[in-house]
Symmetry: C2
Subunit: 295 residues, 2 copies
């Protein structure tokens, strides 16, 4: 199976699981489920859960055991986008080429749909822990995800982003912001999957370094796309970072230097996978694929 | 020790634990911690975690084991108040006699502080599961709380509340709304504590019935206080339900009949505790105390 076929297979598996997690309910609470489903089934790259499944396959783990945790990360990622798009936050009207959640369902329901998805992520993981043959391991995997998504991780990144609005910040703050805001939730699906597959400490360390660099590459690529991307392919407006006077890799290092850094960190990410040999071919291709992505 | 002394002792224990959970951080993410701390340490009755600790004492359980779960419920309750007070939701300026979170920190930070508290509740419980001597039992207790706070519980209640805004609904919808919106998160600390104390199925059933009626009583009392309460003692405006044309027990049954129902369900709650004899004295007093509360 080539890279693209394998990627599609992972994405299908993830979409099918997520679709099953949110069953449409009857009135009176029907609108909540519609709003949650609207955003979770809006497509997207599914990068985070794909990382979990690929790590699992590489380590010969049990995909059915990893899938709920992988999809929980996607629920957390999706809730963060819904809240991030709100008028009080980034005030975005479009996401993945469709109106944002609050544009369709109103602000109140969008806030609650976000809350519902965050909560559902933990409901899903707790159910898996209860059923797991190794509950400590499952709880540790969930704990890694919880720390990454909370106030010691992603949410702090969003606060730094808020506080930096309209001003140019230095590289220390920019790096801290991205490590928290994007990096934490790219590392968590990699490390939690490794824990669930009983990886040894040295393997976890290598995967941690892979994910660290991949997360950084992902963010730099995002900053570059905001400058030279295509609005139609991106599904959102190009140039919004500059419009909002946001600090980005491009605003701090310039476009050419940013591309060099992107290429370097991608190489570093791939190099961290050396010891896994042939088994790492999908993850290496994924890193290359993200380098040339157009959305 | 009399009832009031015991209550204060529980509240002190809870406040001390919650205070330790949110350590002030340095810049740049400092504002997030300040906003989270502002609402979690705003006082309040601490009814939900007090219920957990009292159930634990009644069943001769280990309070240290129950405390993190009890406080997780309080974090969830607090996040729901922060989001509920937002302009897009109830648009309230005061809570517990102080400006609401978004009035002090702005809407964006209030949304993130709420998200942070919900996430922290699960971080706290997962940490306890990992350390627990009976991980399945601890995960089941956390699962009960997760279901109660999510889209199958509290959040659905808030959506029904939203959807019912400005119209008078029937008693079926009103009861469904309250069972989800308030009842679920009063039942969860009782049932989860019972699970953590290895209560037998019959005891859990009795406690479930106690909490069901207590939650209903709590809501009816809230509706009555909104009509004949004292703004200063309540710490928020009286009469806002009528102003917003909200369906309440008072609007559906009238004040006198609502007081009768309140007295009946409180008696029912207390009757569910019969089999626990003398050991239930605190919980029975708590039900009576909530009946005459002024805020």
């Amino acid at each position: 199976m080539d890279f693209k076929q394998q990627l599609d297979k992972y994405v299908d598996k993830i979409n099918e699981y997520l679709d099953r997690c949110i069953t449409e309910k009857e009135l009176p609470e029907k609108p909540l489920y519609s709003a949650m489903k609207y955003s979770i089934m809006a497509g997207g790259k599914r990068l985070r859960p794909v990382l979990s499944l690929a790590v699992c396959d590489m380590l010969d783990g049990n995909v059915e055991e990893v899938l709920p945790f992988a999809c929980a990360v996607e629920m957390i990622h999706t809730y963060s986008l819904i809240h991030d798009d709100l008028p009080a936050m980034d005030n975005d009207d479009f996401r993945r080429g469709r109106p944002t959640n609050h544009k369709v369902y109103g602000e109140a329901l969008a806030i609650l749909a976000g809350d519902g998805l965050l909560n559902l992520a933990f409901e899903t993981m707790l159910e898996s822990i209860i059923k797991s043959g190794d509950k400590e391991q499952a709880a540790r995997a969930a704990g890694v995800i919880a720390t990454a998504s909370g106030s010691k991780g992603m949410i702090s990144g969003q606060v730094i982003d808020l506080e930096s609005e309209g001003k140019q910040v230095d590289t220390d703050i920019l790096n801290r912001m991205h490590r928290f805001k994007t990096g934490a939730l790219i590392k968590a699906p990699v490390v939690s999957a490794a824990i669930l597959c009983k990886a040894e400490a040295d393997d976890i360390e290598k995967l941690d370094s892979f994910a660290e660099n991949l997360g950084l590459a992902f963010q730099i690529k995002d900053d570059i796309l905001d400058v030279e991307g295509n609005t139609e392919k991106l599904g959102k407006k190009v140039g919004s970072d500059a419009d909002n006077n946001k600090s980005t890799y491009v605003s701090l290092y310039g476009l050419e230097r940013s591309k060099e850094i992107l290429s370097d960190v991608t190489k570093k990410a791939i190099a961290s996978l050396e010891k896994f040999g042939e088994k790492a071919v999908f993850l290496k291709s994924l890193a290359d694929y993200l380098l040339v992505r157009e959305n």
